[in-house]
């Protein structure tokens, strides 16, 4: 019996009947918190414990589930959100852990694994030819398409506002001007392309073609949040992160398969509490608005939303009033067929040990892929060596 089947049995979930019954995710949004947020000061509060810090815990929409007092709006969304409080891994280096949490694989010298978004786009197909298959806002992820086709590589905007500079028309070049120049370019390129027959030229031509299609697509205005009403923009908040979350929803509506938003410096080795408080206040409203908005538009059931960073932070507070790197942390998931209001796993009263249901990164990934209806065991490629979607991962069945 597989571990998954064993767990399913233990929790009384008939595995086969369960599969395919729920809605499946067609889109994904990853709200990435770079630097690793402190789980005890966000999703897994321990008020009163020696390790708990000064924050209070507040009740949420789900009885018995409590969050940090600085996430009041998310607290009201908890019927839609489930938490895994016992994700764990040994990798406590930011770079390699960020890689791991974007791919389900440890970084290797000889092969680059694909970004989660690329796997989703590749397996579910690219819905819109005139939009990028996936978009990353606010940072540079450690990987792109990896060994998958370059056409499923995410379009990366290191700054949230850079999307507008590169993609939208502006004062320096209108759409009409771009179209006129593009026609000229097509004609001019013919001579050289005929002379120099070469795979790289063809590759470049296709890249330009794709770029042009996006730039001139009617849907490209998904990158422009100013098309939204004042009330919607106010709901998300007129902040960088508010705009990014709103843009994420607009992109999903425009059939972009996957959007990752990276925000904040959560690496709070010093001054943890002031900084986590401030960051929580910055992200609480946009995150909650996104869930509310997706739900109201009927998009949440087909959009998997995941909120996480690369590892956890020490329960013990260090001399600089900070928290250091720690192997256990919490991940929040919503939508896309994931049942809301559940809490998977439990840490002890000081947050030092896992007392119930440890979840490996590979299990977390198997869960996410399961939500998309992607078989974690599937071999994506056979060369340079056989690569499965996830190596040795079992979906957390209790979430479906």
């Amino acid at each position: 019996m597989s571990a998954g089947a064993a767990l399913a049995e233990k929790f009384g979930l008939p595995l086969l009947a369960q599969e395919g019954r729920n809605a499946r995710a067609k889109y994904g949004i990853l709200l990435w918190m770079p630097g690793a947020p402190s789980q005890l000061d966000t999703w897994d509060p321990k008020p009163g414990a020696e390790t708990g810090g000064p924050f209070q815990a507040i009740d949420t929409a789900v009885a018995g589930v409590r969050l940090s007092e600085h996430l009041p709006r998310m607290a009201r969304q908890m019927k839609r959100v489930s938490l895994i409080r016992t994700v764990h891994s040994k990798d406590l280096n930011h770079d390699t852990a960020t890689y791991l949490l974007h791919t389900a694989y440890r970084q290797a010298a000889d092969v680059e694994h694909p970004h989660l978004a690329s796997v989703v786009a590749s397996e579910l197909g690219i819905e819109a030819r005139d939009m990028p298959p996936s978009v990353v806002l606010g940072g540079a992820p450690p990987v792109g398409a990896g060994y998958l086709s370059p056409e499923v590589a995410p379009l990366v905007f290191d700054r949230i506002d850079a999307a507008a500079e590169d993609v939208l028309p502006g004062a320096a070049q209108s759409r009409r001007k771009l179209k006129r120049r593009w026609e000229m370019l097509q004609k001019f390129e013919k001579r050289f392309a005929e002379q120099m027959e070469d795979r790289r030229l063809e590759q470049r031509r296709l890249a330009y073609q794709k770029a042009y299609e996006v730039l001139t697509s009617a849907r490209v205005k998904a990158f422009n949040v100013r098309w939204e009403s004042d009330s919607v923009r106010a709901a998300y908040g007129d902040t960088e992160y508010g705009r990014a979350c709103l843009m994420a929803r607009r992109l999903i509506e425009a059939d972009v398969r996957f959007v990752e938003v990276m925000y904040g410096d959560w690496d709070t080795h010093r001054d943890n509490f002031d900084r986590v408080k401030e960051l929580s206040q910055q992200v609480d409203r946009p995150m909650a608005a996104l869930l509310e908005d997706l739900a109201q538009k009927g998009l949440l059931k087909e959009t998997l939303v995941v909120i996480m960073g690369e590892f956890g932070r020490t329960p013990r507070v260090n001399a600089a009033n900070g928290r250091d790197h720690w192997p256990t942390w919490s991940v929040a998931l919503a939508g896309g067929g994931i049942e809301g209001g559940r809490v998977i796993g439990k840490t002890d009263e000081s947050g030092l040990t896992i007392v119930e249901r440890p979840v490996r990164v590979s299990d977390l990934y198997a869960t996410m892929y399961r939500a998309f209806g992607i078989d974690p065991e599937k071999k994506l490629v056979t060369s340079p060596r056989p690569m499965k979607v996830v190596e040795d991962g079992t979906p957390v069945q209790e979430l479906f």
């Binding site: 992820p141 590169d166 000229m184 370019l185 001019f188 120099m196 770029a211």
Partner: protein
Amino acid sequence: MTGIARIGAAIVLGAGAFWPPARAQEASPPANLIDAYFAEFWKAEGVTPGPAADDYAFFRRLTLDVYGRLPSPEEIRSFAADRDPDKRARAAGRMLASDESAEFFADVWLDALIDHDVTNQDFARADLGPLRAWVRRCFHEDTPYDRVVRSLLSDRGPRREKPAVNFSLKHLGSDPLPVKLAVMSARLFLGKDIRCAQCHDDPFQSTTQEEFWGFTAFFRPLQNAGDLVERTSVPRREPRDDFHEMPLAPRFFDGREPESGRRLGEALADFTLTTRDHACSKAFVNRAWKHFFGRWLMPVSTGARDRRHPDLAERLALDFEKNGWSPRRLMRAILESKAYGVSSAGASELRDKYAIGPLKAMGSIQYFKVFQDVFDLYEAHKKAWEKDVLENENAGPQFKDPEVMRLLFYKWSQELLLPKGRDPEETAASGTPRMAMRLMNNQSIQSMVNSQWGLLKRILRKKFTPEDRIEEMFLAMIGRRPESDEKHRYVRYVKGQFIDKMAYEDVFWMLLNSAEFLFNH
């Protein structure tokens, strides 16, 4: 001959052959070696090499490869008008001996030495200015390459007086183990990719994990103590699982071990320069070849499957060693070869066989230099540097070094031109939609596609008729004159627009986004 004696001989040879400028003529004509190899190869493959590239194509190729920039219309015209049948070899020789080429090759080499990545931290833990100045001087003086390698591997001491130590200082970084430095040294000086062997035996590169840690042990005594220090004893470390570390004594890949009492850096340099398979000279030949042909001559990493020419690499490496490890002589041999000089028009199977000329994406340094010229970025960067660095009391003295200034400029150009998170080895020419969007539509870049800015402004000020202006734009951007149908088309386009400046901007944008501009061909 023992390894050390051989090394000594090589140094004497190199040093002796160092000054006389006529050295290249003393030995057999270098291009023959490559030509002889390919004559045989083409015959065996049943292919006929293409015709020689015309003057325009050749001169653009050469200028990009040796100066890292586009040739100016004046330079092109004067080269095209030159009647000397030997002008190509002459131009190559003259350019290779110039300051400008030393500057460019220094930047390309430095980029490889620092693994295409400079962070502000690197400036804090290494002095990259003196390193750049030293590499530049090496190219300018054509310092024998074995000597360069010896310095990089064995120099110790203060970072300003011993500039080569900054290579080690950069890669020692803050890691507890000198893994990065070992990986970089194996890659650059032995042509060996040993990354996989850190954690497991690598059958593709035939490197075992034990060999990896034996090699890494040569760097274990190194310490970044402000200066580069080689300690006499290495503190023992507990092996940690996440490094897969194997505690080992220094041992070279071929089994040689340093004599006791000898400085490890010296021993490592000896071993590196005297491998049975000439790995060090081959790695340099390979790198030079990649620069000029856009492809490796022999495989460099796991999984490379395309066709290679190890025999030619071997012949060139032996010739290189025999002639005092002179980089300039090797580069001349390549530039004067038939394979380098043939027209690159034709089908890709022919290109794979070197029967037609190279077609390559611009390297990152070329890319930045070309755009610095086209958009006057150099001047813009310089203003920013003067204001933000020179006049800034908080900026450390190492940032005020003009050598460092150039490195910062590349970094700043990169921020404008390349979206973050990209492999800097690939540039626009190899093409991703992301890159294409940036060049086609980024509003900061578009604001410089302007008749009042940069190259276009200079052209419009210099030439007045539409015919002359179109021709000048073609020469300046893609190194050739427009064909008659092209000239007709764009002159007519410009004349047909009410505001002709906007029409020139359109043509400029078109050339800027064309494959013919972004590739070296």
